[in-house]
């Protein structure tokens, strides 16, 4: 086993303790060990040497803390979130059970950790895996939720990391809705290092919702990898309420003609918070369509980074891709770095991209005030209208209502600068 010297002693000790406490089938032990070796070799990413993927986000606040693995029972499906009328999926996957073969076949396949220290670390700590699986040919609608809830660890002085993993396997012609939530206690600066892999088979339709509702002081790094086969449809909406540092690295590969994806996002950050969305879409086959629409609301001195990377490969003729990122700045001190990009190697395509960042327009604000609304009421109305475009993409009504009020409640309007 791994005995190479390490700069990450705490992680190494916990990794070994986990392997001893929760031995899996041989393939799982091998996978964990491979994750550790890779993490130990490459460590956490840095912005040095032209690392475009981490150009605007420093992970030092995470890297310099020795987060411990809490060794808590995995099954935290309850959590404070409402159930939205959806059945809960336990994060205590049975690797030997009926779906064991499917897990073995797919786990770690999409979320490559070759160049990704966080995914490697998650893999080194593979234990809490929520598996959602709809077999081939079962077209009956399935709706489930996965809640990865952080709880306080055993030692109040210690800071903890958890490494939740989600594997979603939608078989041929499946019709699946998944709500994936991340929650945690309000206080401590814990670290959530999540990886989600989603396989969307031929003709399948998957609606995926991801909600980050963690402690405002938490660190969250999330890697989501989606693979779509021919004529599949994947609609996603990612919601993030501010944390000290959040990263949403979300990549979709359109790997069969006729595949469609729609990736929506809404993020809010307040004082002292930072969010980094890196959304990649790979048009690997012809006749695929992608829609990418993210919106941010930034308050205080918070910062948002948006990287949209749409790649259209040479054979991917008749690709249709649109991406936008719009940001509403509630404060003079908020900052956004938005970099939508298109890499197009095919010649017969329709692609567009755009990004905006601005304050609430003075004319608009006056229009509302001239109807009797004061500044605070007018601002609230305009901010929630800005957010609603994304919230309205949510199909399940209970979730949509919940998100509507969650964002309304959490977005503070203190003093609103008025842009001209």
């Amino acid at each position: 086993m791994t005995q190479a010297p390490t700069r990450h002693e705490r992680y190494f000790a916990d990794h070994q303790a986990l392997a001893a406490a929760s031995p899996g089938p041989a393939w799982l032990d091998t996978l964990r060990a491979a994750g550790w070796e890779r993490f130990n070799a490459i460590g956490f990413p840095t912005a040095r040497r032209g690392n475009e993927r981490w150009k605007y986000t420093a992970v030092a606040p995470i890297a310099r803390v020795n987060f411990a693995y809490p060794f808590l029972p995995p099954d935290n499906v309850g959590g404070p979130e409402p159930d939205f009328g959806f059945a809960a999926v336990s994060a205590a996957a049975d690797f030997d059970g009926e779906t064991g073969d499917a897990i073995r076949q797919h786990l770690g396949r999409l979320a490559s950790f070759e160049d990704d220290g966080f995914a490697a670390l998650n893999t080194a700590f593979l234990r809490d895996v929520a598996v959602v699986r709809v077999p081939d040919g079962s077209g009956a609608p399935v709706a489930v939720r996965v809640n990865h809830a952080a709880t306080d660890g055993p030692d109040v002085e210690q800071r903890y990391a958890r490494h939740p993993r989600t594997l979603i396997l939608a078989g041929r012609n499946a019709n699946l809705t998944v709500i994936e939530t991340y929650t945690g206690p309000p206080g401590p600066r814990y670290f959530t290092n999540a990886v989600t892999e989603i396989v969307v088979s031929e003709g399948a339709q998957v609606d995926h919702y991801r909600l980050l509702n963690e402690s405002p002081a938490a660190y969250h790094v999330g890697v989501t990898r989606v693979h779509q086969a021919r004529d599949s449809s994947f609609s996603s909406a990612s919601f993030a309420l501010g944390t000290a540092l959040a990263r949403n690295d979300f990549a979709v590969t359109l790997d069969g003609p006729g595949a469609y994806c729609s990736l929506n996002g809404l993020y809010y950050t307040g004082q002292g918070q930072h969010i980094d969305n890196l959304i990649s879409i790979d048009h690997a086959q012809p006749h695929c369509t992608s829609r990418l629409n993210y919106k941010g609301i930034l308050d205080g001195n918070s910062r948002a980074v948006f990287g949209g990377e749409v790649l259209v490969r040479r054979n991917a003729q008749k690709s249709d891709a649109q991406q936008t990122d719009k940001n509403l700045l509630l404060s003079e001190d908020a900052e956004v770095d938005s970099k939508p990009s298109l890499l197009i190697y095919a010649d017969d395509v329709q692609c567009s991209h755009g990004a905006t960042a601005g304050q609430i327009d003075a004319q608009t604000l006056f229009y509302l005030r001239s109807r009797g609304l004061d500044l605070a009421a007018a601002s609230r109305m305009l901010i929630s209208a800005f957010a609603r475009e994304i919230v309205n993409t949510v199909k399940p009504q209970p979730l949509r209502d919940y998100l509507d009020s969650l964002f309304d409640r959490n977005i503070a309007v203190k003093t609103l600068p008025v842009g001209r």
Partner: protein, 260 residues
Amino acid sequence: MTKMTNNNPLLSVRGLHASAGDLEILNGVDLEVNAGEVHAIMGPNGSGKSTLANVLAGRPDYTVTAGQAIYDGEDLLALEPEIRARMGVFLAFQYPVELPGVRAWQFLKAGVDARRQHHGEEELSARDFDRLLREKVQMVEIDPELVRRAVNEGFSGGEKKRNEILQMAVLEPRLALLDETDSGLDIDALRIVSDGVNKLRSQDNATVLVTHYQRMLNYIRPDKVHVLLDGRIVRSGGPELALELEEKGYDWIREAASYE
């Protein structure tokens, strides 16, 4: 509750000067408007007529440098725009703003409730507001579908102007300032908008129409017509003044004014 007596005008503007940045636009406007009256403010482009309406409604782009405006016994210019609105001042915008994601229902109810609270009344129930809105939609002959959409989003120019009249009908202002509401309207829309304004006329409220053209005055008969030139009212008269302007153009007024 009202401080107005029969002797006091609803709006009294005296020596009003206003500028946008370094540019002086209003150079001493005097205007008195009584309840029950309709006034038309006419003038060439750049004369300051839109500025006058916007200054009275409180648009923050302008700075009042001198003069006063007394509305219903209050110093209007000292009040925030939303307070003016709650006291019954309404501006129909020349360029109504699109509000993506803001439902008309929610927008109008917030305005009505803000005004009611200002007057110490309770908010309307959703049901009562529904009823009010339905009634006003019929009154101003607007497509009910427009009310179900986001405010002005994707509306045609004519639809936006009609929507302004609907808002006016719902908010029931005492002083309505219509800023070039006629511009960009085809003849049918002009008739509908004018009908709406006429239906809302009463002995308790007043309307100030800002317009470049005489044609709206074929539908809405003003009690008084004023000509604004270089930021001052240079001539006032009855409805016949509008016809004279239509015939002779604004140059005539400019020449006449220069001799005074």
